[in-house]
């Protein structure tokens, strides 16, 4: 009976693990897409993450934070791919088209398009930290995923946010006096 029970328990554990992976796919795709900037590259990363997660499932502690564990696998693989291939982020054609077709009258949509573009210009470590935070991870989990101290995580987030804000503010925020001069010239 024991011999029959063990495989059965293992199969049940596999099923649970598989379901947890399935449940994680949307947020992994979201993280990968916004980290890499490309749809296909992102989905490759997620598929490889799923493979590696299965291969390393013995190192996963049931009940611990699977999301953080999967994020760590994905980001490590992302940096490995970037390092080996010297591959710079490429804007997905769909994303680029969406950006170009953004209706100018919809301010919130314009802001999202600018935000997406700005994110891709950030250093990847800052982009990654911002995405992990907005994915709902706690400081300690983000630090674990990134393999850095919490202070470094907070610093990257602060610097990333400041850079994004400056990008979103645009030239008017960078050169306010010049803008005033131009306005005066135009009105005069």
């Amino acid at each position: 009976m024991t011999a029959e029970t063990k495989p059965s328990e293992a199969a049940a554990a596999d099923d649970i693990f598989r379901e947890e992976l399935l449940h994680s796919i949307p947020m992994l795709r979201a993280f990968a897409r916004n980290l890499s900037g490309g749809r296909e590259f992102a989905d490759d990363l997620v598929q490889e993450t799923l493979m590696r997660a299965w291969g390393a499932r013995d190192s996963y502690t049931p009940g611990s934070n699977m999301r953080a564990w999967l994020f760590r696998i994905l980001r490590n693989h992302f940096y490995t791919r970037m390092h080996v291939a010297k591959r710079f982020t490429e804007l997905d054609p769909d994303v680029a088209a969406q950006t170009l077709m953004t209706p100018a009258t919809q301010e919130d949509v314009v802001m999202l398009a600018d935000l997406r573009a700005g994110m891709m210009l950030l250093p990847s470590e800052q982009r990654e930290a911002l995405l992990l935070m907005e994915s709902g991870l706690q400081w300690a989990d983000i630090a674990e995923v990134m393999g850095t101290p919490i202070g470094t995580v907070k610093s990257r987030i602060t610097r990333g946010r400041a850079a994004l804000q400056r990008y979103l503010d645009g030239p008017a925020a960078l050169f306010p006096e010049e803008d005033d001069t131009l306005l005066e010239q135009q009105s005069g």
Binding site: D14, A30, A117, A162
Partner: protein, 89 residues
């Protein structure tokens, strides 16, 4: 609002334009426009239908795990990636 594809200059302690106006280190407020925007960028992708290739991959892994003599994980991944043509859900 139009943007140029210039590199964003990172704000470091040496070149921060206005440290007084920089939010203290910590989580931004939930109603912060950048935070809201980032969550929207994430949720837009997360709400997309998951391509069938992901389910197929997990099925293959499950089958391979049940058979120790089956293909290696890398072989399965290679097949999955090469076979994922036109799957852009």
């Amino acid at each position: 609002m139009g943007r140029k594809s210039e590199e964003i200059e990172s704000v470091s302690p040496d070149n921060a334009p206005d440290r007084q106006n920089t939010r203290p280190v910590g989580r931004p407020r939930r109603d912060d426009p950048i935070a809201i925007g980032l969550r929207k960028l994430l949720s837009d992708v997360a709400e997309e239908p998951v391509p069938d290739s992901f389910m197929a991959l997990l099925d293959k892994i499950s089958a391979a795990r049940a058979d120790v003599d089956s293909k290696s994980a890398s072989e399965i991944l290679d097949e999955s990636i090469s076979g994922r043509t036109g799957d852009k859900a």
